[in-house]
């Protein structure tokens, strides 16, 4: 596939890094230095030019591309580049990056003529909210517009007896959920009714977001759902996080050093308590009992500030800290300092873009345990031999169907359900099996 990338900044180079092996890439940027850095590391074509110039785009060969990704740091450039790409290469898929949630909403309403809009702030917010929503989870991913969630849990001593230590056929699961895999000491089982979830093992669960929360509560008793979160920083990222958390009815407090931004946030979010403070003063943290919050998210612009504020919050007793690391290099430092989770917006964005470069029938790919397992979202072909088959009768070949999306709503199938043409199937498999699974469906 020919991929045309506009913008060779941090997001652009992350995308290049992920795609250069399998695809033919052309990268366009106005800065020669950024292009040469990329050309030095990867085998890709580079072109110095302006994404807002239709002539430059045409000369760089956008017309032959199958996928166009406009991911400069500027909204306007990406919008214009996406518009011209649509004219030059009508059949190519276009993805644009934006920092305004408004554009994402416009695209959802069908007002923007592009195939996908990715917003790093929003992706970061979603990544963080998934971690907040299921505190016991090691990793979570959502599929089918948020209707299906896949969560990987560590099962520890003290997990509910309804789940752990009994054969699955007798265990009391939350509704609308299914165990897709049990992993013990690097060995994966696709479970049947006789298998048992034991403490010390790890399970991959698929279910509705609500079921995922119930799983979390069952596996880690006492860890009540998060209700009180403090966000440091009310800029674009902080506000996006607040918006997503509020949608999930999680209580939010925000701390913002700039008076104007604090006021803007307070005016936007009527249910959020916004403080105009740096968040770095012990006095303030003590007075406002920030230590009593269940989790704190650090979304300020400066990684160093996020790191220090997070350390301070931990000293004041915040049990769960999540920090935004704008620079990939900060991830290691954050980990070293004891911050529970670090999220890199550009990496999250790049991952979102890369999903698009896969087989057109495969909508989304999530990776578990490094790259050992994949979760695929595949639309069944008319000619698939499993059409009309009951799930009970399907062979187990190192893969398991966890959910199907039919007419826009998610179903967590049981043995008597039947696969139909056009179903979107969310399937868990070992990575090495993935091409075969896609082929079979």
């Amino acid at each position: 596939m020919k991929v045309f990338i506009i913008g060779a900044g941090q997001v652009g180079s992350t995308v290049v890094d992920a795609l250069h092996g399998e695809h033919e890439l052309t990268v366009l940027d106005t800065e020669l230095s950024r292009l040469s850095a990329i050309a030095y590391r990867y085998d890709v074509a580079t072109f110095e030019g302006d994404g807002t110039s239709r002539r430059d785009l045409a000369q760089a060969g956008v017309g032959t591309a199958d996928l166009v990704i406009a991911c400069t740091s500027r909204n306007e450039v990406n919008l214009v580049a996406g518009m011209f790409a649509r004219r030059e290469a009508p059949k190519a898929k276009t993805i644009i990056r934006t920092s305004e949630i408004e554009y994402v909403d416009l695209w959802r309403e069908g007002q923007l003529d592009v195939d996908f809009v990715v917003c790093p702030e929003l992706e970061t917010a979603h990544a963080i909210s998934r971690i907040i929503g299921v505190p016991a989870a090691r990793q979570t991913d959502v599929f089918a517009e948020g209707q299906v969630q896949i969560v990987e849990f560590d099962v520890e001593e003290g997990a509910s007896a309804e789940l752990a230590g009994v054969p699955l056929r007798h265990a009391q699961f939350p509704r609308d959920s299914k165990v897709m895999a049990i992993i013990r000491k690097n060995e994966m089982t696709l479970p049947g009714g006789d298998d048992v979830i034991e403490p010390g093992s790890r399970v991959v669960v698929i279910g509705s977001p609500r079921a995922a929360k119930e799983w979390s509560a069952l596996l880690v008793p006492g860890d009540a759902a998060v209700q009180d979160v403090v966000i440091f920083g009310a800029g674009r990222v902080g506000s996006a996080i607040a918006r997503v958390l509020l949608d999930q009815r999680i209580g939010v407090r925000m701390i913002e050093a700039s008076r104007e931004r604090a006021l803007a946030a307070a005016e936007t979010f009527s249910k959020v308590r916004v403080y105009n403070a740096t968040g770095l003063e012990a006095d303030f943290l003590e007075r406002e009992r920030i230590g009593l919050a269940q989790a704190a998210i650090f979304a300020m612009r400066d990684d160093a500030r996020n790191l220090y504020a997070a350390s301070l919050a931990r000293v004041h007793g915040v049990p769960f800290t999540i920090a935004v690391a704008h620079d990939a290099v900060s991830l290691a430092a954050f980990d070293q300092a004891g911050i529970d989770v670090a999220v890199n917006p550009r990496a999250v964005t790049a991952e979102e873009i890369v999903r698009f470069a896969h087989d057109p029938r495969t909508q989304q790919v999530a990776m578990l345990e490094g790259n050992r397992y994949e979760v695929l979202d595949v639309t069944t072909r008319d000619s698939s031999r499993y059409i009309g088959a009951k799930f009970r009768d399907m062979p187990v070949h190192g893969a398991m169907i966890g959910a199907i999306v039919r007419n826009g709503s998610a179903i967590f199938p049981h043995g008597d359900d039947v696969l139909e043409i056009g179903d979107r199937v969310i399937v868990f498999t070992e990575a090495s099996n993935a091409p075969w699974v896609i082929e079979a469906l």
Binding site: A262, L263, A266, R273, Y275, R287
Partner: protein
């Protein structure tokens, strides 16, 4: 690029003007006032036509029209071309003066009426100011002594003043040589204007059209009640006269016993229209013309207004039932009528409440401080300011515990500008200040010159005039008159009515040095 220094001649000193002590374009302001007053000359034509029809003396109205036109034109001459540069600063002067002069020229018919109670200029001025500011307090002990055209003029002044002289001018005059928004802001009650169109002229036109439409509707309903025999008292004349008094929340009546002699059905109709007149007209326009009923019902000011109406009515009804002051059916009607009439600052009465219990009287005084909604024809503090003040106080309590908290105050979910909030708080303080000073003057004066008043009556007299309500208790009760007060008290009450109608700030500014300095 550099420009050459301007050539200077050593012998030519720049001529320095003498220091200016006044930074307000008074002549220009007078000119604009002249234009506004000039058009008021059309107002006496209505009673003039009536006088000719009834065979009464037309001369008071001819004189009024001529005098008003002459004054207006004279002022316009004074202004000359200086009126072209009237700006923000002059706006306050224009509004304040226009209202004083409107009330002044409004006295001409009274002075020429030959009624002994309106012979003295200050008494006539009281009656006229009370009309234009839609207060409805009367100096007359015998309303029926007025002939029909004169009584209609008295009712008509309220109707002109209700939606505002300047708003009317903005709506119908070809072009006012000034932006108009600020003028309208100082005249239209409430913290800010609710735009109903892209131009201020359009907003003014729509407000006045709605006002006219509601008045016509009320006339038709009342006339129908009279015509079908439900209420024998209601002729077409009475229907018009009381519509002119109800829609602007005025309170003058052509009857000696206010509304008491009308049938219960008439009283219920008036209750409904007083309530309508106390609603924000911009909201009414959106509800009835643009049919946005649901968003209107969610309006926070409207909800508080409704709540206060229910609360006030409930308190009065309980008192009436407990003391058996009237029958139980009448208790409901009288309780609701009095509460609605006082809260909306109309000032009609169906019963003399002077003899009611202290709690009932306290309720009435408290209701005088509520007023209608912003953008209604009601006076007093206005419901929305109570709402904002309550929220400001609640926020202050919160920020005492959480000093860093940033908490914008919302009205109908939209954050309110801090300047608007400060203005609302300042207004309420000024209002209370004006009340205290006014009540003080009246207390002193009545102690020296009589009449002898109870403490609650003194408070009610000050609150009723400042809030443009109308009746107080005792000597100034709903079925009595304000004639027994001395000239000092009468003057103080005139000033209070003027202050209350213009929402204090434009008037008070004129008495500060900062206003006049360059």
């Amino acid at each position: 690029m550099s420009s050459a220094p301007a050539p200077t001649r050593p012998d030519a000193h720049p001529s320095i003007a003498p220091p200016r002590r006044i930074g307000v374009n008074i002549r220009g302001a007078l000119g604009l006032v002249g234009t506004l007053v000039k058009w008021l000359a059309l107002a006496p034509l209505l009673p003039l036509a009536l006088a000719l029809g009834y065979g009464e003396s037309p001369w008071p109205f001819v004189a009024a029209a001529a005098g008003t036109a002459a004054l207006g034109i004279a002022l316009e001459r004074i202004g000359g071309d200086r009126s072209e540069v009237v700006g923000f600063r002059e706006g306050f002067l224009v509004v304040s003066l226009t209202w004083v002069l409107a009330a002044a020229v409004g006295t001409i018919p009274y002075l020429l009426s030959g009624n002994p109670e309106l012979e003295r200029p200050i008494d006539a001025f009281f009656e006229s100011m009370s009309g234009f500011t839609t207060t409805g307090s009367s100096i007359l002990t015998d309303v029926e002594a007025l002939n029909r055209s004169m009584a209609m003029w008295r009712q008509f002044t309220q109707w002109i003043g209700g939606m505002g002289i300047i708003v009317l001018a903005l709506a119908v005059l070809p072009r006012l040589r000034i932006g108009g928004r600020q003028l309208m802001e100082s005249e239209l009650p409430g913290p800010e204007i609710d735009d109903l169109g892209t131009r201020i002229r359009q907003t003014a036109q729509r407000l006045w059209s709605l006002y006219v439409a509601l008045t016509v509707m009320l006339v038709v309903i009342l006339a129908t009640l009279g015509w079908t025999g439900v209420d024998d008292q209601l002729s077409l004349y009475e229907a018009v006269a009381h519509a002119f008094s109800t829609m602007p929340t005025g309170g003058f009546s052509t009857q000696p016993h206010s509304i008491a002699d009308f049938a219960p059905a008439t009283q219920w109709v008036l209750i409904a229209f007083m309530i309508l007149a106390g609603v924000n007209f911009a909201l009414l326009y959106r509800t009835f013309v643009r049919r946005r009923v649901r968003s209107a019902l969610r309006d926070e000011e409207l909800r508080l207004y409704a709540g206060l109406l229910v609360l006030g009515s409930g308190l009065l009804i309980l008192q009436l039932l407990e003391r058996e002051l009237t029958g139980s059916d009448a208790a409901f009607r009288n309780g609701i009528f009095q509460a609605v009439s006082i809260l909306t600052t109309t000032g009609f009465a169906t019963v003399d409440f002077t003899g009611w219990t202290t709690l009932a009287l306290m309720t009435i005084v408290a209701l005088m401080f509520v007023g209608g909604s912003a953008g209604s024809t009601g006076g007093s503090i206005k419901v929305v300011r109570h709402l904002l003040l309550g929220r400001v106080l609640r926020r202050d309590l919160r920020t005492t515990v959480h000093p860093e908290l940033v908490a914008p105050i919302r009205l109908n979910r939209i954050a309110v500008d801090e300047r608007t909030l400060r203005a609302a708080v300042a207004f309420v303080l000024l209002y209370v200040g004006a009340f205290v000073v006014g009540a003080g003057i009246i207390a002193f004066d009545t102690a020296l010159q009589g009449p002898d008043l109870r403490p609650i009556t003194v408070m009610a007299v000050a609150a009723t005039t400042l809030g443009n309500v109308g009746p107080a208790f005792g000597h100034a009760g709903p079925l009595a008159s304000f004639s027994e007060f001395s000239d000092i008290s009468t003057g103080a009450m005139i000033a209070l009515m003027w202050l209350g109608r213009l929402e204090i700030i434009p008037v008070v500014l004129l008495f500060t040095r900062q206003y006049w300095k360059p």
